[in-house]
């Protein structure tokens, strides 16, 4: 199993009685491509932060790629995230004032793996980023290009799990289709488990499995 959650509860420390997540049982198998849809503000990002180890669950088992995140320390989780999980957001995926190569290099820096700049360059080429754009601060590139570099950045450490949090929301229709086909090709090629979260149901046809967030998280029903 790539992801296995059992009896997971989470509330932010500022509002300990307001249970944001309450998940009885939910799992994703290896190399599965899962689309999770639901309205914004429903706790989707919180779930993703739990899975990446940015947040720590109050109770329950969080099993990601065969490791128990809930029993790890903060430093171990940072390390685990750098080495095993790729992450793409809706926006602010890149440090705007450094160039594409540095952005990818930076992501690489926190992992244990050895890689060459050749690898970065071939990644950028495979995402159709022209060589002339490699050394510009990414803040000056188009949003479409930035999101494609974000995939490259998320893939540089060869993660087993890729988490995408509304990555297409800031793209127009054309860019969105390009982005999706490049993303899907990339995850298939590298045999990566993909967890894709969005409110845009029209993206569901790219995926083999579609879950409604409201079915995963039962916190709303109990409180």
């Amino acid at each position: 199993m790539a992801i296995q959650l059992n009896d997971v509860r989470f509330a932010y420390p500022e509002a300990p009685n307001d249970c944001v997540l309450n998940i009885k049982s939910w799992s994703v198998s290896d190399q599965e491509h899962v689309f999770v849809h639901g309205p914004s503000g429903g706790g989707k990002s919180t779930l993703l932060n739990l899975l990446s180890g940015m947040l720590d669950a109050n109770a329950g088992q969080v099993n990601v790629l065969g490791q128990r995140l809930d029993s790890m320390g903060a430093r171990q989780r940072d390390h685990f995230r750098a080495n095993h999980i790729g992450y793409i957001f809706q926006q602010f995926n890149l440090v705007p004032y450094i160039d594409a190569i540095d952005n990818i290099q930076l992501a690489h820096q926190f992992s244990n793996q050895q890689s060459l700049s050749d690898e970065i360059k071939s990644l950028l080429s495979s995402f159709h980023i022209p060589q002339s754009e490699w050394h510009k601060p990414v803040g000056r590139l188009s949003i479409g290009q930035q999101q494609r570099i974000a995939i490259a950045r998320a893939m540089i450490n060869k993660p087993e799990l890729l988490i995408a949090d509304e990555p297409t929301s800031s793209l127009d229709h054309n860019n969105r289709d390009n982005f999706m086909s490049e993303l899907m090709a990339m995850v298939s090629e590298h045999r990566v488990t993909l967890l894709f979260v969005s409110h845009d149901m029209s993206l569901a046809n790219y995926f083999g499995r579609t879950d409604a967030f409201s079915e995963i998280n039962t916190s709303g029903e109990h409180n």
Binding site: Y12, N49, S52, M54, L55, A74, R75, D78, H79, R81, A82, N83, Y87, F89, Q91, F92, N93, L94, V95, P96, Y97, I98, D102, Q105, L106, A107, Q109, F110, S111, P137, R153
Partner: protein, 415 residues
């Protein structure tokens, strides 16, 4: 990579960073400038007189004697008898003596009567002797040797005829405009009050004061060589203002000082110039510390500005911090990133401040030495100033701790 990220992050915020650097650079400029000029002026102050073992004048306070004999400031309380000078300088423990006779001026510069021994024995700084940039010591009654600044300010060259006035004002009522003094020598700059002094022989001083116009009139306007020689005999000084002594052995200094202080014919005071200089400088200690305090406070203000600027940037960089966390940066990475940025700002400020100070001293050096008689060296990085720079770096780390901790904290929450 860490370093590159910090540099590029700073470049990305050029505007506010530039202003912060300016503020820090100005404060470092002031801090180092005050310290440098303080050190330099102390050095030049302490080196105004170095060869003399004792300075002797009429009974007075040691400060007063030092001020009028060495710095040509204030007025002597009383003169001493020429016979007294001769008695004391005849003491076998005395190697040399330089008589000083003050009280006259030339266009605002003090005129000092002395003997040619002055050019042989007087020394300043690290035992440096007076040297002539032009001409030679005075030989005759109406010969004049100018300090470097006097010559420069009044535009005098060798052979110029000048008029000496009785009294100290620039426009004295009793102008002795018949005394035809002639410039025979100009001293090299020393950075001491010597530069602002007009030197004549003791006989010259006497000549200013006697009514020698009659002699001139008798010989039909022109003064013959013979008359001048006759005059010299007549011009034996009756009194002098003070004198400097060099002893054959330093071991005898206190003994000779006691003997002079107990001199029975006339009340005298003998001082050790080094001790008196140190005492005088100590009186300026309060001013020194005030200047240091002010420059320190300016630095604190600049550092607070740096801290505030960094703190504001943390809020701006919320997404960036979150992103760095997601790609695996531990919280301490963000703490040190902000600290490194602050240190970089501080180092650039130091460079700008030091360069600015160096250039200012280079440009202002000429004005300072001709108008204020201050010789300021260009070696800014003294031990003290390097210590100050390290202190600035240390304070930067402390001042940046608050924004760095905020970055660390916002990283830990992870939302």
């Amino acid at each position: 990579m860490f370093f590159r990220l910090a540099v590029k992050s700073l470049l990305n915020r050029k505007g506010s960073i530039m202003l912060t650097i300016m503020a820090m650079a100005v404060s470092i400029f002031v801090l180092l400038g005050v310290e440098h000029i303080r050190g330099q002026s102390k050095q030049s102050f302490n080196s105004t007189v170095s060869g003399a073992d004792l300075i002797v004048g009429a009974r007075t306070g040691s400060m007063n004697l030092l001020l009028y004999s060495v710095f040509r400031m204030g007025s002597p309380t009383n003169n001493i008898d020429w016979q007294t000078y001769q008695n004391i300088s005849a003491n076998p423990k005395v190697a040399w003596a330089i008589p000083i006779s003050l009280g006259d001026s030339h266009k605002g510069f003090r005129v000092m009567g002395t003997t040619t021994d002055y050019f042989t024995y007087f020394s300043y700084g690290k035992k440096r002797q007076l040297s002539f940039s032009k001409g030679k010591p005075f030989e005759q009654v109406f010969d004049v040797v100018l300090g470097a600044q006097v010559a420069k300010k009044l535009n005098y060259t060798l052979g110029a005829n000048i008029i000496l006035a009785h009294g100290l004002g620039k426009t004295s009522f009793s102008m002795h405009d018949q005394s035809p003094f002639k410039v025979v020598g100009i001293l090299a700059p020393t950075g001491t009050p010597v530069d602002q002094t007009v030197h004549v022989s003791l006989q010259g001083i006497e000549a200013v004061h006697i009514d020698w116009q009659q002699i001139a009139n008798m010989s039909g306007g022109a003064v013959s060589q013979k008359q001048i020689q006759a005059l010299e005999l007549e011009l034996e000084p009756k009194t002098i203002t003070a004198f400097m002594l060099g002893l054959t052995s330093r071991m005898n200094t206190f003994r000779v000082q006691r003997d002079i202080n107990n001199y029975s014919n006339e009340p005298l005071t003998a001082i050790l110039p080094g001790v008196a200089l140190a005492e005088l400088w100590q009186m300026m200690g309060l001013l020194e510390n005030t200047l240091r305090l002010i420059s320190g406070l300016i630095l604190v203000a600049a550092l607070l500005g740096l801290s505030a600027m960094m703190l504001a940037s943390i809020r701006e960089r919320k997404y960036e911090i979150h992103l760095l966390r997601v790609i695996g940066a531990p919280p301490w990475f963000l703490f040190f990133l902000v600290e490194l940025e602050a240190l970089l700002v501080s180092f650039v400020s130091m460079l700008v401040g030091i360069t600015g100070l160096y250039l200012s001293l280079l440009i202002a050096g000429d004005v300072l030495s001709t108008d204020f008689g201050m010789h300021i060296g260009l070696n800014i990085l003294s031990f003290n100033n390097v210590l100050f720079l390290l202190l600035v770096a240390g304070s930067t780390v402390i001042a940046a701790a608050i924004p760095s901790f905020m970055a660390y904290k916002s990283a830990s929450i992870g939302r």
